[in-house]
């Protein structure tokens, strides 16, 4: 019996996990990043040190943690620290290679909103807020983002800037980071359920691969600006059967992330 074909969410998780090949220290955000990094640790990046803001460095979760403060990230970890040490020494001290974030809204420059939809004082929707995302975006050497894409989430103008990306453009962002002494260089990749985006020197995201089954028309309809498309746009490679098996049988059998 052959397995069911990959869903779009599974394609997103697999593509996000594969971005971590060769990376060493990854700070794991709430939600989709959590399943992506746990898949990466079981496939392309077995040496990956998972950092959880709850105070764990080098987690070896025995099951997929639903929350980033689950007891399974403690047992067998390299180190458990206070949150003061985790944010102060590990993150702000410049020891994190990749910060892996989700987002409710993103703009073309990779600036992220996870705070409110609408006006701050009288929001239409109150979102969770920063958590550690604001400092991860500033301090991690590079930032990966994984999120579902729609005209509501990929917007011309975000309602609130919780976590800075390439601000208003690449050159100005690079200058400001240097002036203010950030350790981070900002976002490098955004993986969605439609494709994979990377950032050009102008600081704007460019679609570099399209998941099989998704179309450019669909991408344009789910992007709140006229998106830049790479001239050598490729199809995203298919998930391997083992990657799908890990997601479906080991990591998320209840479908909490993938449904």
């Amino acid at each position: 019996m052959s397995a069911a074909p990959a869903t779009r969410t599974e394609r997103m998780i697999v593509a996000a996990a594969r971005e971590l090949a060769g990376k060493r220290v990854c700070f794991v955000g709430v939600g989709l990043p959590n399943i992506a990094v746990n898949l990466a640790q079981r496939t392309v990046a077995p040496e990956l040190e998972l950092v959880y803001e709850s105070g764990v460095y080098g987690a070896r979760p025995g099951r997929l943690p639903l929350s980033i403060g689950d007891p399974t990230i403690v047992t067998g970890a390299t180190a458990v620290t206070s949150m003061l040490e985790l944010f102060g020494y590990y993150l702000q001290g410049g020891r994190v290679d990749v910060g892996f974030l989700g987002a409710a809204q993103i703009d073309r420059y990779g600036n992220i909103n996870t705070t409110v939809i609408g006006d701050y004082a009288h929001p239409r929707t109150r979102l969770p807020g920063s958590g550690g995302a604001c400092e991860i975006a500033i301090d991690a050497r590079e930032v990966f983002i994984v999120m579902r894409q729609s005209a509501r989430s990929f917007v011309e103008r975000i309602d609130f800037r919780t976590s800075p990306g390439n601000l208003g453009g690449g050159e100005a962002a690079a200058r400001l980071r240097a002036e203010q002494g950030w350790t981070g260089h900002g976002p490098s990749v955004v993986v969605t359920d439609l494709g994979v985006w990377r950032f050009g020197t102008d600081g704007e995201m460019v679609l570099v691969s399209l998941h099989p089954g998704a179309t450019l028309d669909e991408v344009r309809g789910a992007t709140g600006w006229a998106p830049a498309i790479a001239p050598d746009l490729r199809p995203t490679p298919e998930p391997e059967p083992e990657e799908l098996r890990l997601i479906r049988e080991e990591l998320d059998p209840a479908g909490l992330y993938t449904r």
């Binding site: 709430v30 939600g31 959590n34 803001e53 709850s54 105070g55 764990v56 943690p65 639903l66 929350s67 980033i68 403060g69 689950d70 007891p71 403690v74 047992t75 067998g76 458990v80 620290t81 206070s82 949150m83 003061l84 944010f87 102060g88 993150l91 702000q92 705070t115 701050y120 004082a121 009288h122 929001p123 239409r124 929707t125 109150r126 979102l127 969770p128 807020g129 920063s130 958590g131 550690g132 995302a133 604001c134 400092e135 500033i138 301090d139 609130f160 800037r161 919780t162 976590s163 800075p164 601000l167 400001l176 203010q180 002494g181 950030w182 909490l256």
Partner: protein
């Protein structure tokens, strides 16, 4: 617990029930609801289900936090109902995680502020004017400052303490130590009361010394549906169920009646959970730490 809350938590207090996912004192939160405290400023990095319940029960007028959600699941709908739309009725004061940790740390150390390299080029300082840019006194480098946080009361759940309140924690440490040292009054709730000799045999594990503790309460399973490393697992099934309960105000009220108001204490809650739930949340196996030898000197 009844006596500790009655004596140490007053109307209008700022109250921090800390514990990052781990060791959240739901037992204390429920007792505060039962005793009908009002006008509290609730402080937590991650308000979690306990503050959704306390806000729904009418105990709070303000919330100081850094991440407002049901981790891995969704929203805290009772809090959202009081913060969205034209006339929010819950005052929010929000920071990032490092900002909250810094605030407790400055509070614990009696410093006028905590400097950090967060908030650059974000809208957070405009949303919260207490987050302010400052220049280094040793150059012109710009950093941000957050003010000290000194709760009237900090409540911490822990694995064990002795009768004097010397408290040991393992697993996620969160910011309980900082929050306790920053507070005027401290309540420690533990899974197990142990002899002083147990504490002295492993002093590296002591997070909070008895000298800053005002009350020790023994309340096994008192952190459910959060967890206590080594004792019981996080009840993720309940966190998922909370999404639907919290979304519906009538269902939430019924839940509060059934699980808080109509129960006299935590022992009744534990009994109501029943042996099946308690068994389901037991760790699947043992994972003891290696032991170290501190040595004897003199």
């Amino acid at each position: 617990m009844r006596d500790a809350i009655a004596a140490l938590v007053r109307d209008g207090d700022s109250v921090a029930i800390e514990g990052f996912t781990h060791l959240i004192s739901f037992a204390a939160g429920h007792e505060i609801i039962r005793q009908g405290r009002r006008d509290l400023t609730l402080i937590r990095m991650t308000p979690d289900l306990i503050y959704d319940q306390m806000v729904a029960a009418g105990t709070a007028s303000g919330l100081v936090f850094s991440w407002l959600g049901n981790p891995g699941v969704g929203s805290l709908h009772a809090i959202r109902r009081r913060t969205e739309g034209d006339a929010p009725t819950l005052a929010l004061e929000e920071y990032s995680h490092f900002g909250m940790v810094g605030r407790y740390t400055a509070g614990a150390m009696r410093l006028p502020f905590f400097p950090l390299r967060s908030y650059f080029e974000t809208d957070l300082p405009a949303a919260n004017p207490r987050i302010r840019p400052i220049r280094s006194p040793y150059g012109d480098e710009l950093v941000y400052a957050v003010p000290p946080l000194n709760p009237d009361v900090t409540i911490v759940h822990a694995q064990r303490a002795d009768a004097a309140g010397n408290t040991q924690i393992w697993g996620l440490l969160g910011c309980q130590k900082e929050a306790a040292f920053a507070a005027d009054r401290v309540i420690v709730v533990v899974e197990e009361l142990v002899d002083e000799a147990v504490i002295r045999a492993d002093p590296n594990r002591t997070a909070i010394p008895g000298v800053i503790v005002d009350a020790v309460v023994v309340e096994p399973f008192g952190a459910h549906p959060s967890y206590s490393q080594g004792h019981y697992d996080r009840d993720s099934r309940f966190y998922v169920e909370w999404e639907a309960i919290s979304r519906d105000p009538e269902r939430l009220d019924a839940w509060l009646r059934e699980w808080v108001h109509d129960l006299p204490d935590r022992a009744a809650y534990r009994e109501k959970l029943g042996p099946e739930t308690l068994a389901r949340l037991r760790p699947t196996g043992s994972a003891p730490s290696g032991s170290v030898d501190y040595g004897r000197y003199g």
